[in-house]
Every structure is written in structure tokens, then in C-alpha cells.
Symmetry: C2
């Protein structure tokens, strides 16, 4: 997985089910409220200090602005070698995973002078400043089924969780631009997301999360035809499914997509956040 001899971290994938963006002057106070699922299909991130930052994804060079930013802010330009089975830009939080994994691993390589909160904050700020994400990093630092109660990184943000774990299936039809949705007119999105959060807090269960995700996608006008069709097919087969924010991706509980006749990938929710691999 990792480059030979390089230190590495594993970061879970993260699917946001609903959200409301929240912009402030400071990047650490900017973020989103909402809820989602962390997945044990994630990203392995290996780091070796280098003259300048170069990122590879499954062996291919790739531009990842937030990774450049966070390693520059930490003062550790590096060769960042990442492997994942998750699609980029399809709502799995790959960008946040690489950014957070690079920060945690680079910190360790250079003597470990920052705390976990400081590293989460640095990665979150880099994502916000690059317009690549608003909530993945704090969720991927926590693991489980994160509820984002207050936006932003530590010490500003606040999280809770749904006390459950589950098998999750997913199908990615294609990408959607996070940056276009979260920088455009967001009034509808914000009110739909805040309503969903309030309703989830009344009854924080997995079934309710999926139900509120569908309502949010509909109210915010984010369903695409093939996502809506697949979600409907899973429900018709007696299952629970919703859309990943933001990708043309459907996630389902248990065997929901398979039962509806889709060729789906399967994983489990992930019990923990980012972790360094033991040497």
C-alpha cells in the first residue's frame, strides 16, 4: 500500500448525508453542520519529506491544493503517496482524507509537536481555503456516524454521533463539483440542512438519517435522475438509501442496492477516525 519505508496513516471515507454550509471570516470557524457516515473503505496516505510537495493517487500524479497548503503550513513539503478504492469527486471525502492523513503523518515524521486537534484544524483550514470541503475533515478525525452540531475545526466545531454501526453499500455514477454547490446560492440548502439536523437530533437513528437525507436532497434540489431512480429502486425493494453529498453517488444500508439489482461495492461504517499505522 504505502511507499516502502514511508510512514503512513489510514483515513476513513466520509459520506455526508445532509448538510448546511456556514461561512465565517476565519477558516477554522467556517464549515458545515450536518450528518453522515464514515466508511472503512478509506484512503491510505504515506508521507516522505521532500523538497516540494508532490501527491500521487493510486500511483498517478494529481493536483491537490489542500494537501499543498497543509504541508506548507506545517513546514513539511513531502512526497504524499495515496491509495484508495474510492472515486475522487464522488462524495467520499477523498480530498479531506488525503489532507488530514498527510497532516497527521507529516507531523509524526517531524517529531510529533502538534496535538490531534491542531492537526485537524490545519487540515480543515486547508480544505476551506481551497473550497474543496467544509465538513469531511472533522468527521474523518472522529469516525463512526458523525453529527456535525456546530461548524468548524477545534475548538470551535462540535460533534455528536449516532450510536450504531452498519454494513453500507454504494454505487458511484459520477462526480459533482463540491466547490460549485458550496460557493453558489445556498439559502435553500441551508434551511433544508438545518431542518434535517434538528429532526435528526430528536431521533438519532440510522433509519432516520437515511430518511432525512432523502428529504434534504429533494428539498435542496440535488437529486439527479439516475440517483433518484436508484434510491427509489432500493426503497421499492424494502431498503434504505440516499444520496452522497456531493457526488452522483447512492449509499444504502445493508444489502439495499444489491437487493434492488445494482452492482454495488460494500463496506462497514468505521469505528474510529484517522490513525497512524504502527511501524
Amino acid at each position: 500500500m504505502a511507499t516502502d519505508g514511508a510512514l503512513s496513516a489510514f483515513v476513513p471515507g466520509h459520506v455526508t448525508v445532509f448538510f448546511a454550509p456556514c461561512r465565517r471570516d476565519e477558516p477554522a470557524r467556517t464549515g458545515s453542520v450536518g450528518a453522515g457516515l464514515t466508511l472503512d473503505d478509506g484512503v491510505s496516505v504515506a508521507v516522505e519529506p521532500a523538497d516540494r510537495t508532490v501527491v500521487t493517487l493510486n500511483g498517478e500524479p494529481i493536483e491537490m491544493e489542500p494537501v499543498d497548503r497543509v504541508l506548507s503550513n506545517l513546514g513539511v513539503p513531502s512526497h504524499v503517496s495515496t491509495t484508495t478504492s474510492l472515486a475522487l469527486g464522488a462524495g467520499f471525502g477523498v480530498s479531506g482524507a488525503v489532507t488530514l492523513g498527510a497532516a497527521v503523518t507529516a507531523n509524526h515524521v517531524t517529531g510529533g509537536l502538534r496535538s490531534e486537534n491542531a492537526l485537524v484544524r490545519a487540515a480543515h483550514e486547508a480544505e476551506v481555503q481551497s473550497d474543496t470541503g467544509l465538513g469531511d475533515v472533522v468527521a474523518q478525525a472522529r469516525g463512526g456516524l458523525p453529527i456535525r452540531l456546530k461548524p468548524g475545526a477545534p475548538p470551535h466545531g462540535a460533534l455528536d454521533g449516532i450510536p450504531a454501526s452498519a454494513r453500507i453499500e454504494y454505487v458511484a455514477f459520477g462526480g459533482l463539483s463540491t466547490s460549485e454547490v458550496i460557493t453558489g446560492d445556498t439559502d435553500e440548502l441551508v434551511s433544508a440542512g438545518e431542518r434535517a439536523l434538528s429532526d435528526l437530533r430528536e431521533r438519532p437513528t440510522l433509519a432516520r438519517l437515511f430518511e432525512l437525507g432523502r428529504r434534504f436532497a429533494r428539498e435542496a434540489g440535488l437529486f439527479t435522475p439516475r440517483v433518484e431512480e436508484a434510491v427509489g429502486a432500493v426503497q421499492a425493494a424494502g431498503g434504505e438509501a440516499t444520496m452522497a453529498m456531493l457526488g452522483e453517488t447512492v449509499v444504502a444500508l445493508g444489502t439495499g442496492l444489491t437487493d434492488a439489482g445494482y452492482d454495488a461495492a460494500a463496506c462497514q461504517t468505521h469505528p474510529s477516525g484517522v490513525r497512524l499505522n504502527l511501524p
Copy 2:
């Protein structure tokens, strides 16, 4: 492990390395600051609703006041069947683990109407009201190497972490009463604990955690002769060791106790907090 057919949770062990108790009127605001290690040697907790709460530990009936309390507060009296290789009253947070595991599992059995934060809070309050612990529950809900920045349960407490993982060895010589130490005169303890926290935040590394633990134990007058001897022997052999708060227990990094000639148990730090076992 668990009773056949009962739902179960795993809760990591937790060793506090240093702490400062902090009492307020509300149990949810009462707690401790400090730092420690969660361990993958933990407690498996299975729950079946019953007419009244009965707790067994490795098959033997046992009185655990905070478990009675939390299940009474949640309205789910249960048969709680727990298994662990950890010694009770020796500084591994067994009482907090059973209380938190019972809360999370009982919630699931009854439809899962509470969030993770609400369950952590209920378990923390039960420990505080029973004088059995001030910081284990919030650490065991988080996992990793928790730093308790602000005392209390969500939403009052605040946590950070040391971004590391390690093999840990331990030897338990005997028990110390948590309740006697945390309800007695605590001025020395508080100032030593707060100083250690401040110094750890300057440099949040594993080696520093152990160094500050030794300083805290010495300043707070908590070392017993055989603990001090074992810690000294590990250091003389080139290792890192300190005392578990509160037990007559020594924890060491890596193979520290074995290298010093002790017959020690070994485990790893645990990446996550309490989790329900998948059915």
C-alpha cells in the same frame, strides 16, 4: 464472551497518567483534566433487559453502583454480563467501561433514541454521582491517547489527543481506592495535574506523557514503593514507564517492563472509543 443472544459493546480500558479533579454542582460539569492511554485490553459488555439490574464480571455477580444508576436513568433495568482480562480497582477504568458499555448497549436494545453524547453524559454523571471516576468515561468514548482539556461530559468537557499509537505493557500489583483520593484533600494533586497538562500541551508526545506522569506521581505523593521500584527499573533498562491513576499499577511503552525483567501483560493503544458489536 457475551451472553448468547444479548447485544454487546466493546469499551477500551483507560489508564489515566496524570489528572486534576474538578468539582462543580452539576455532575455533567464535574470531572477532571488530564491525559492517559486507552487500551485494546478492554471490557465486553452484553445487556439483556430484565426486571432489575444485575451485573456479572467474568461470570461472578458484582455490585456496580454507577451501572445501576445509569440503567435506572435510562429506564432500562438489565442483566449486564461483562468479561475482561483487566483487574478491577487497579486503574484501568473498568467501572467506567461497564457503565458506558451498558448505557450504549441498553440504548440500542430499546430503539436507539439517544445520541452518543447523551449516552456519554449519562454514564459520566453516574460515575461522578457514585464517586467511582471523573474522567474515564469521556476518554473511553473517544479512544486513542486522550487529553482532557476541560472537565465534564458533553457539551461541557473538551478533549484533544496525542497523535500516536503504541504497544503498552502493564503490571498490576494491587488496587488503590479512587474514591479516597478524589474525595480527600486535593490541593497538591490539582496543582501538579494542571502543571502537567500545561506542559503536555506544549509538546504532546508519548515520551513527554510518560515523563510528566512520573513527575505528577512524585509531586502528588502517589507512588507506592513497589510502583516506584518498577518504574525505576524500566527507566534503568532504557525504557519509559509510569503509574496508572489510580491503582498500584505500572504501564510501560513497548517492551519496557519485559526488558526490566517483569512478567507483564501487553496490548496496544486503542484507536477508537466504545463501539457496539455488529449483530
